[in-house]
Point group: D2
Chain length 300, copies 4
Amino acid sequence: MLTGKHVAVIGGDARQLEVIRKLIELDAKISLIGFDQLDEGFVGASKVQLEDVDFTTVDVIVLPVSGTSNEGEVETIFSNEKIVLKAEHLKDTPNKCNVFSGISNQYLKKIVQESDRKLVELFERDDVAIYNSVPTMEGTLMMVIQNTDITIHRSNVVVLGFGRVGMSVARAFHALGADVKVAALESELLARIYEMGFEPIELSNLSNEVQETDVCINTIPARVLTANIISKMPTRALIVDLASKPGGTDFRYAEKRGIKALLAPGLPGIVAPKTAGKIIANVLSKLLLEEQNNIEEEQS
Amino acid sequence: MLTGKHVAVIGGDARQLEVIRKLIELDAKISLIGFDQLDEGFVGASKVQLEDVDFTTVDVIVLPVSGTSNEGEVETIFSNEKIVLKAEHLKDTPNKCNVFSGISNQYLKKIVQESDRKLVELFERDDVAIYNSVPTMEGTLMMVIQNTDITIHRSNVVVLGFGRVGMSVARAFHALGADVKVAALESELLARIYEMGFEPIELSNLSNEVQETDVCINTIPARVLTANIISKMPTRALIVDLASKPGGTDFRYAEKRGIKALLAPGLPGIVAPKTAGKIIANVLSKLLLEEQNNIEEEQS
Amino acid sequence: MLTGKHVAVIGGDARQLEVIRKLIELDAKISLIGFDQLDEGFVGASKVQLEDVDFTTVDVIVLPVSGTSNEGEVETIFSNEKIVLKAEHLKDTPNKCNVFSGISNQYLKKIVQESDRKLVELFERDDVAIYNSVPTMEGTLMMVIQNTDITIHRSNVVVLGFGRVGMSVARAFHALGADVKVAALESELLARIYEMGFEPIELSNLSNEVQETDVCINTIPARVLTANIISKMPTRALIVDLASKPGGTDFRYAEKRGIKALLAPGLPGIVAPKTAGKIIANVLSKLLLEEQNNIEEEQS
Amino acid sequence: MLTGKHVAVIGGDARQLEVIRKLIELDAKISLIGFDQLDEGFVGASKVQLEDVDFTTVDVIVLPVSGTSNEGEVETIFSNEKIVLKAEHLKDTPNKCNVFSGISNQYLKKIVQESDRKLVELFERDDVAIYNSVPTMEGTLMMVIQNTDITIHRSNVVVLGFGRVGMSVARAFHALGADVKVAALESELLARIYEMGFEPIELSNLSNEVQETDVCINTIPARVLTANIISKMPTRALIVDLASKPGGTDFRYAEKRGIKALLAPGLPGIVAPKTAGKIIANVLSKLLLEEQNNIEEEQS
Ligand SMILES: NC(=O)c1ccc[n+]([C@@H]2O[C@H](COP(=O)([O-])OP(=O)(O)OC[C@H]3O[C@@H](n4cnc5c(N)ncnc54)[C@H](OP(=O)(O)O)[C@@H]3O)[C@@H](O)[C@H]2O)c1
Ligand SMILES: NC(=O)c1ccc[n+]([C@@H]2O[C@H](COP(=O)([O-])OP(=O)(O)OC[C@H]3O[C@@H](n4cnc5c(N)ncnc54)[C@H](OP(=O)(O)O)[C@@H]3O)[C@@H](O)[C@H]2O)c1
Ligand SMILES: NC(=O)c1ccc[n+]([C@@H]2O[C@H](COP(=O)([O-])OP(=O)(O)OC[C@H]3O[C@@H](n4cnc5c(N)ncnc54)[C@H](OP(=O)(O)O)[C@@H]3O)[C@@H](O)[C@H]2O)c1
Ligand SMILES: NC(=O)c1ccc[n+]([C@@H]2O[C@H](COP(=O)([O-])OP(=O)(O)OC[C@H]3O[C@@H](n4cnc5c(N)ncnc54)[C@H](OP(=O)(O)O)[C@@H]3O)[C@@H](O)[C@H]2O)c1
């Protein structure tokens, strides 16, 4: 339990509600900043203005997935007020206060460093990335069903990359009856691809393997779907690019060739905000509980 | 091959293009009625007006999935002209001329009977229903992903009915990691449900099994989702009703209880018109080829 | 509950112990005939000699899977005494007494008819056949792993027949990564084979589809693996014939061609006697409970 | 192609035949040492005695999976002669000559080092371990089917470890319908376990999760199945220990408790020697071809 812990939850979207729910379950004391328009009442959580928070009592700061903007602004869909997080706020906190966000940027890193606090970027964690690969995969399924005139079943699917997202995506399309090829570099990934029933492609050989592609799903954050590769695909092919912006596709060339190519960022928050929120809530609370246990052990 | 066979394709939507393509492949002589606005040219198929067709030379008539309206009108998305099929047309055809449609109605049955021809309702066939269960299943996945805020993975799914559609739907949700229960009447269906890794529910016991339902998919064309059953579901549940109109759900009660319930007819033509067209094309051509073989065998 | 019901369990093997266990659970009164060497004590079941049974009090007779021999002898592995069931025994029972066995023969049918009782052959039931298809499938896996020098994963498997056993077998080999073809006659079976991700073969076309076969599993109780078909297989192929004796394989020809062919009857009792026993116990008790409910309803 | 390359294959079992076959396919010049009793003739491979080999012409030395004994002896099932590999042999070879084995030991490492050659232990490679996880998994299935009286389907299976073998094993049991729990330490493994549809167990919490275990499969090469854990299992449980000798099980305690526990080393060579041989052949030849390409590129 987190009894006695004071957590400041600043901004966010539907996902943050799951975080709040979990923290309440664990009996934390919660201040909600940027939630004034939230209808739902949370017993045990009080809505406050940023300027009214006594940061000297705050043990944990929880930012939204996006962290802050480069000007320090914290996004929230539950308030119209502008919320800017500053180094001063952090400096006021007790030494052990940690800051949690999904991703971060220069600004956030700077203010955390300046105030000598610790920043935990949850989306950098392998476990979070794997849990998130599930809603990402389902969003991909949805997009493919919507944007093709054929079934996934018995279609020719090529997945690029076999990391945390690629494995989940390949497994799902295969489970629905597609013929799945997966392109990767390392020999042990190619071995696992083979073991899982997909056809392994050496990435260097990709251009010879896309002639019959109905759907190509990219998870590699590098320019892998070059004009050369795209020129080998049939025009009926659909490209769904999951890699973080700007994706790995030569979108200009795809359009020229008449191939539909879609960049699809942020799927978990779009197709399954509740599950995406629970993922964050679970990992965050696990980390907080572990930290607490460590402190208790040290003290005893 | 269907060399020498004269097929009149009357009306339809994108699915019919696959039928035409297949018939051309098989070297049939094709008259297209109601396709004047079709851009795509088909070598070997000529666009004609209904009144210009010489039905005495027509060996096969292919209607759209919907057959005719109760006034004899044949739907087409490739023409603005009104096309009405009459008994006279059929009477002109050679004795052996068969009429193919997806489904039929009183009008169509009557004119076929009057003219002493044979009507083949393709959608009544088990094989067609099973092939169509695949795009139906994918459309269902899409709707569920769109209309819930959680992932299918690890959700509680209840499928009602384990016929041609129910089996495909249950398999897909299970393959994506859902906990799947399936409700059916017969003991052999319950046994297969168990073998396939789903939890069998006796339909009579349904009301005790829906307390934790996230998604309920109905394939039984009878009022099974009564107010009583729906009242036992959590309000977060989503109902997707696939059964032919009016579905098996008490939609009025679902709305009252605040449960989202969607009637989702005609999914194959919506989410995968090309695959849906190929299904028709394959079965139709197989039937035509078999008939031809039979005639040749009789003659030899 | 079966309180007050008197069940005579006559003979059997390990499977019958599960039946006894279940009946005790349901509070039946049980007489065990042919179990004198059984170490395990069952509270609520008494071991008796056939001649000491008062059949006028017996409500249900449970025979082993095999029923009786053609001389009326009932097999048991728990006794050395010879047990012969006769029409006289049955005639003594109350009118409503039913006889349960797995399969039956002329003798058993005759004595049941003579005494005007009802015989239930559990193995004729679709649900029992489907439940049993699971241990049958696992036994088949075991035999294939033992009798080949390659993995099932990525091997070429042909399954003949897509009934209760064929579907379970095809699903399992596919799940383990084999390329699975399934041969059947009916168009709706071919459609389901396709939907499930296997390659459908029309049985009439089998001879053209076995050139690359590593493993062929027959479930069709008819001579389908003829010399002609076997001659098209590579000599490395393994045939496992599950169909009831004498199987569907030309074993003489297979041997001549140097192809290993195994007839594998009775797998459930061999590889999973406990599960096989539970299958019988569950269905038997469900039938007894239903019967009881019906009687109670009639009486009320 | 390996045209012109001279490969000395020294000793081995059935797996080595696949290696020889592959090398011949690639047009290598092959000397077979320790194969005098091999019936099968390989065109392009000549059987020689160790003392007759001109090692100054040997480009590659291929040892069996086991490498050598600690006295330098090389196992072979195709000869009765004793073959001892010595540093002298290696010293005679050209500088670039590499030595391939499955595993190695002090002796082999020493003579390779003394002669300044390179040793490649194929079984240390991730890709080889993953490919081998497939026959290992199938051998495990076979053992479990043989050694239990229930079906894998719907049984409670606990897999310890989620590395190269653990993942393949868990996937297979799940695919056959078992309820699979997997125990691991790292949070990202636990996340993948969850994504794949298994129930994740923190290894530290194992003792609370084995009460209902029917089958426990260990892949962790450390003493994880302690008396404490085993004491929590039901006596019906079966333990299959795949970890390299001495396994991770307290076998003495398991026996005392009446729990069957089997140490099962070397499954790939036992249940699928041909596939196991092809795995070695494929990786070996890929490495030789890559090396050759590198040399050619350097030279050009
Ligand atoms: N659209 C969405 O909603 C969504 C959701 C989640 C994640 N994402 C994005 O999807 C991408 C993949 O995420 P992930 O978690 O799967 O990452 P990951 O685990 O790091 O996997 C990336 C894969 O790409 C390969 N790769 C990386 N750089 C490469 C290069 N230059 N050349 C060839 N291969 C390369 C990696 O191979 P190695 O292992 O050999 O490096 C790995 O197979 C990221 O950009 C992530 O931001 C998008
Ligand atoms: N939405 C779409 O896009 C779409 C696409 C295809 C089909 N459909 C519709 O979906 C429905 C199912 O199609 P299908 O091909 O799966 O049909 P099906 O094979 O006949 O299956 C229907 C299932 O419902 C059961 N059932 C029928 N009447 C029942 C009753 N009164 N009480 C209890 N159970 C009953 C059947 O059990 P028994 O076998 O015991 O009768 C069977 O399990 C139909 O209405 C069809 O028109 C919709
Ligand atoms: N070895 C064992 O341990 C074991 C265990 C269980 C069962 N069995 C045996 O396995 C066999 C199959 O059992 P099952 O329960 O799967 O039976 P089933 O459900 O009747 O299936 C038999 C299959 O064979 C087809 N078939 C039957 N006769 C045919 C013929 N003359 N030509 C072409 N196809 C034909 C059926 O097609 P249609 O549906 O079109 O007729 C069906 O696909 C039986 O002989 C049974 O006794 C053995
Ligand atoms: N019986 C056979 O026929 C056969 C065939 C192949 C392999 N094997 C043997 O099977 C074993 C597993 O092989 P593998 O290729 O799967 O190895 P692996 O990929 O290294 O996997 C081992 C697993 O055990 C975990 N682990 C290792 N040491 C641990 C410890 N002290 N405490 C807790 N967890 C620990 C690892 O977790 P981390 O990743 O966190 O370290 C990993 O999950 C090896 O002993 C191998 O020799 C046997």
